[in-house]
């Protein structure tokens, strides 16, 4: 990569003090985001992907949280940054879109007012100017009749339209990075297609880098350039979208891909399932965290495997040698 990464995450660890003990939600996550790139973070519930996403802009800061490691944006360290400076970055440089647009918008304020509020928190413009900009934004995300709908309340929109409003709001200040945390999970499949197409257009037209958190591998295949697979608070595989789908290197990724009911393959008798359940993050296993569920685990799996590569940019956290994998991979 010749260009400097826009966002660099290095050995990020996030833990929460809970009644039952210390929960290590994110345990050593590292990745880069290049300008204009779409990076998908895939995993199932509890793997730490949302916590990672929210920690990037300091949204998980609280007395019960311990954060270590580094998150740098354009070379600037964000993890220890003061609240004021961090607020300047939020929205202006790094914006976020969340999963449920109904609960993510304040129900008592008009949609236009919520966007205007954001603009005026960062820029010294008049209300009128901010409103004009808001109408422009709503138009750019495909909301029909934006002049009138600026005055509508969140509950007066359908799910897909609400998500478009969230996206418009996130883009208000032309950030370089958009973090989208499960943006289409709560939407119908035809609406999801619209929103994904919108995100792809925005990525292309504005060179907007996107960190897309999702559990849906289909969505990943649709929009991602690079993919990071998370399991039990760690990254278990990191590669381009072609790497992950056409030559996956980690048994968990194999399991995920295998358990999908795919429309492009003939129907099978049974879906390949992964036995068992993810480990508790209060007390994770000391060796490879996936080993208890892995069909290919062997002696060495008692030691925690590092995330490394076989000479390229495709990383995986597994002790199995490349030749062995080629044989056993389903």
């Amino acid at each position: 990569m010749t260009r400097e990464p826009l966002l660099r995450v290095d050995d990020l660890r996030v833990s929460f003090a809970t009644e039952d003990g210390v929960l290590q939600a994110v345990d050593g996550v590292s990745f880069d985001l290049a300008p204009g790139e779409v990076l998908a973070v895939v995993g199932e519930s509890g793997c730490g992907k949302s916590v990672t996403a929210q920690t990037l802009t300091g949204l998980t800061r609280s007395p019960n949280t311990r954060i270590s490691g580094s998150v740098t944006y354009r070379g600037r360290e964000l993890t220890g940054l003061g609240d004021d400076a961090l607020r300047d970055i939020r929205g202006e440089e790094i914006a976020m879109v969340f999963q449920d647009p109904m609960s993510s918008l304040n129900p008592v304020y008009r949609v236009g007012d919520q966007i205007v509020e954001m603009i005026r928190a960062h820029r010294d413009v008049s209300k009128k100017e901010a409103r004009e900009r808001t109408v422009e934004l709503l138009t750019s995300v495909g909301i029909p009749n934006p002049q009138a709908r600026v005055r509508s309340y969140p509950h007066e929109f359908s799910g897909g339209m609400r998500q478009r409003v969230m996206i418009a709001m996130a883009l208000a200040l032309e950030p370089a990075v958009l973090i989208a945390d499960e943006p289409t999970t709560a939407l119908d499949v035809t609406v999801q297609a619209q929103i994904l197409r919108l995100l792809a257009d925005l990525n292309r037209e504005r060179e907007l880098a996107v960190v897309l958190i999702t559990h849906d591998l289909g969505v990943v295949a649709e929009v991602a350039d690079r993919v990071v697979v998370m399991y039990a608070g760690q990254i278990v595989e990191d590669g381009t979208v072609d790497d992950i789908f056409y030559s996956p290197q980690h048994p968990y990724t194999w399991g995920l891909l295998g358990s999908l009911a795919r429309l492009d393959r003939p129907r099978t008798g049974r879906l390949a399932q992964i036995a068992g359940a993810p480990p508790s993050l209060l007390d994770p296993p000391s060796g490879c965290r996936f080993a208890p569920r892995c069909a290919f685990q062997f002696g060495r799996c008692d030691q925690p495997p590092p995330l490394d590569h076989d000479g390229g940019t495709h990383l995986d956290r597994c002790w199995l040698g490349g030749d062995v994998k080629a044989e056993v991979r389903p």
Binding site: V189, Q192, H215, L217, G218, L260, A277
Partner: protein
């Protein structure tokens, strides 16, 4: 052979009332607006559609959990619509439901043993030690352990709770199980486990499923036949392979086209139909064909005439003036 379940022209409307002293009906939410389907014994009928299409209401109307506005539901040869509570009771043993949300569909204050055992107790099928044994048997069948008998729902994960829900539905050895989005709230790897379980149980107990889901891949995997719903009506009804290979109705077309495939190159190469706009309100459905406002192939006739279900091959029917893929 008579089908296990025969639904004809089922209608369920919810009135919208307004008024000062006396409330009058000013409109209706046409949640289910004339649905007909059949389900044979040992068969799985998949029901797909997006939010607001009426599939959940349809499930409840079929099971008489909400009284239909009109239409007929024949189950095991008997007409359910209009039956009194007493008459329905013995039939309810034969038709059970699995719900979508594993976190809210189990009573948090009851133990698992009670949740699964109560139906048997209520219908006088077993009691005491025999009841307990049967419950533990069911727990084993769904992949849980006998000692889970005394635990509470909050001690289990989503996937496990869904297994409990399945055990409860099985307790009465029904013939029909209506599964309303049984795996939508679960992680992908857990979905696979539950789907496999449901199929195994179907083979073992000779169950018939009405399987409602919005995940087209899962529906395809479990169903023998699939019905596609839009705004209260069934727009296409077909054998599974036939539907996925050759969708006839434009909405089915768009629906399948919208599903992203976990294969980046194929996704790019695919021709996609992306629908514009939103689903219209079920209280004010468009005239003529309900889908015409979003249909890329709509014409004048679509705005005025509602198309009837026509056959396009054995067991494949659709309601459209401009059917796709009929060649």
């Amino acid at each position: 052979m008579t089908p296990l379940l025969e639904v004809s022209d089922l209608v369920k409307h919810f009135p919208i009332k307004s008024g000062i002293v006396i409330e009058r009906e000013v409109g209706r939410v046409r949640a289910v607006d004339g649905v007909s389907l059949t389900l044979g014994e040992g068969e799985t009928l998949g029901l797909v559609g997006e939010s607001g299409c009426g599939k959940s209401t349809l499930c409840r109307a079929i099971l008489q959990l909400t009284p239909p506005t009109s239409g007929s539901v024949k189950f095991m040869g008997q007409e359910l619509v209009g039956m009194s509570g007493r008459e329905l009771r013995p039939l309810r043993r034969q038709m059970q439901m699995i719900f979508q949300d594993p976190f809210s569909s189990l009573n948090p204050r009851k133990r698992i043993g009670q949740i699964i055992g109560d139906p048997m107790d209520l219908h006088g099928l077993a009691s005491g030690a025999d009841l307990k044994r049967r419950v533990q048997d069911l727990l084993d069948r769904v992949g849980l352990r006998p000692e889970h008998y005394n635990r509470y729902p909050h001690e289990f994960s989503g996937g496990q709770r869904q297994r409990i829900g399945i055990a409860r539905a099985l307790a009465l050895r029904p013939k029909l199980i209506v599964a309303d989005e049984p795996v939508s709230a679960l992680d992908v790897s857990v979905q696979a486990q539950i789907v496999n379980l449901l199929k195994d149980l179907q083979d073992e107990f000779g169950l018939s499923y009405l399987f409602v889901a919005h995940d087209l891949g899962v529906v395809r995997h479990v169903s023998d036949r699939v019905a596609v719903m839009y705004l209260g009506k069934v727009v296409e009804d077909s054998g599974t392979d036939d539907l996925y290979d050759r969708p006839i109705h434009p909405y089915s077309n768009a629906l399948l086209s919208a599903v992203p495939i976990p294969d980046p190159r194929r996704n790019e190469a695919r021709e996609r139909v992306v629908l514009e706009g939103d689903v219209p309100s079920p209280s004010n459905p468009p005239a003529g064909c309900r889908f015409h406002t979003r249909c890329p192939w709509a014409s004048e006739v679509c705005a005025s005439d509602e198309p009837a279900m026509s056959d396009y091959g054995p067991g494949h029917a659709a309601a459209c003036h401009h059917p796709r893929n009929t060649a």
